[in-house]
Symmetry: C2
Subunit: 289 residues, 2 copies
């Protein structure tokens, strides 16, 4: 008999294009479900969250196991007390919303939230590609680019809750543009389409992947020169479709890391694939009990 009472938790990764939900038992994914993200208004959004959670709740009932709570990964900036979404560029209907109390109105579940990239790195750090490391930087490259830093057992969020925002790194000081915006330009806002073209062997699409890989390598070099983690774990939709650009990134990065020892940095792919964010959201609940 385990000393801990057994429980499940639900994690939902709120993406700019889709909502992914998992039922998680602390070790593995028991069920998962994905729906399109409604972008028209908040009440529609809340209905879809309930539509995603309900079948996972039913699945838990079948096992007669309690659901300890619901965790949410949000693609935006959340205030330090994790109560209010301050800014959600890819899903503006969540701007300044107290999502936790809204969700509690429709679902009788303890609810927590964090930035989606923090959820990604939490999942990989606790249960995935980073579980043997203590100083981990996570990068998600999907619709947008997110970053999160896991250090000594927790998210490092900085003095004002603003750390880890690697996607907003300015990558051209002469005419300032950030990494995420430059990435949007390269993918023309549709990385899924680009991935499909590259998969079919389209030369131009492969060339763009190469550029995405070079950018990733340079961004990683900047991350290493500033914070020098043990490992950088990369995830997100684009990576699923092509491992190719991780090799471009690895080639570039070493040239630009100044400390010879720090050139030992590992760049690895995440273990949980598209569901990492949802797993990390579910772990928000586990970690609070």
């Amino acid at each position: 008999m385990s000393k801990l009472s057994k429980f499940y938790s639900i994690g939902i990764d709120v993406g700019g294009t889709k909502l992914s939900g998992v039922l998680f038992d602390g070790k593995k994914i028991l069920a998962d479900l994905t729906l399109a993200t409604p972008k028209d208004n908040l009440s529609h959004f809340l209905i879809m969250i309930k539509a995603l959670a309900d079948p996972l709740i039913e699945r838990a009932k079948k096992d007669k196991i309690k659901i300890a709570g619901l965790g949410l990964g949000i693609p935006g900036v959340i205030d330090k007390d994790k109560k209010i979404i301050l800014k959600c560029p890819n899903l503006p209907l969540l701007d300044r919303v107290n999502l936790i109390s809204k969700i509690k109105e429709s679902l009788e579940l303890k609810t927590a939230m964090d930035n989606d990239a923090n959820c990604f790195v939490r999942a990989e750090a606790l249960k995935g590609a980073g579980k043997n490391y203590k100083n981990i930087f996570g990068l998600t490259i999907g619709t947008g680019i997110g970053g999160g830093w896991w250090k000594e057992g927790e998210i490092y969020s900085g003095s004002h809750g603003g750390a880890g925002e690697a996607g907003h790194m300015i990558i051209n000081f002469e005419s300032p543009i950030d990494w995420e915006k430059a990435y949007h330009k390269l993918t023309q806002g549709d990385p899924a389409q680009l991935a499909e073209e590259a998969f079919r062997g389209d030369i131009l699409a492969e060339k763009i992947y190469e550029e995405i890989g070079e950018m990733l390598g340079l961004a990683c070099a900047n991350i290493v020169n500033l914070i020098d983690p043990e490992i950088i774990i990369v995830g997100g939709g684009v990576l699923e479709s092509s491992d190719l650009f991780l090799n471009f990134a690895r080639k570039i990065i070493k040239k630009h890391i100044i400390n010879p020892e720090a050139q030992k940095i590992k760049i690895s792919k995440g273990k949980f694939g598209q569901l990492a964010g949802a797993v990390g959201a579910a772990l928000l609940i586990s970690s609070e009990l």
Copy 2:
């Protein structure tokens, strides 16, 4: 009577153009001395270190106070155990040198060393502009650009000793160049000359200062978006000659920090001016006793 026995320490900031030494009593500078940095060979360099230390040792003898040791701030990459200088771009005669044992041969003093930018931030954090803060990023802008991060009472050096290297931030991903190289181009390798021209009111020199300020602002935004310190403290030769560009930097930075709370970041000038690095080097000894 103080419980601690009183002692002095010597700190030497090894710069690309000059060596600055201080005699420090743990609180204030008792004497200081500056000599040109010999760049021809190591034995000449060691003679000048002794020439700098000897009058400070004599000064301590006058007070009949023991010198606990000698600290050195080095403009390069030092190995994690602080024994060997791995790379010293602005003073190649120190490359791969075990400076500590070399100095012990000529001076009978306990010796320690650290990166010069770490020494700068240590001085400002413990005794200067940062003494009321716990999460401090230090930037020195002089012959080159150095960075160091002070967090919870110590230098954060990362998993391989490579953190804090802000000067090596790549600031143009299309044709990769780092901040320090771009700065060298702007100052044509002679910031002292530039400072003099700006001081005399030369329009072009002032325009260059404006550009240096803009770069500083963008680099600070990248630092804040990644690590979100409480305060960034700026020092180094260029700052001494003109406060002007700190205002350019402050204007730029807020536009590029994504987290509204993190926009509260303070950008301040160091307290110890040109001697901050030497004071921080002296504090290497104090902190080891």
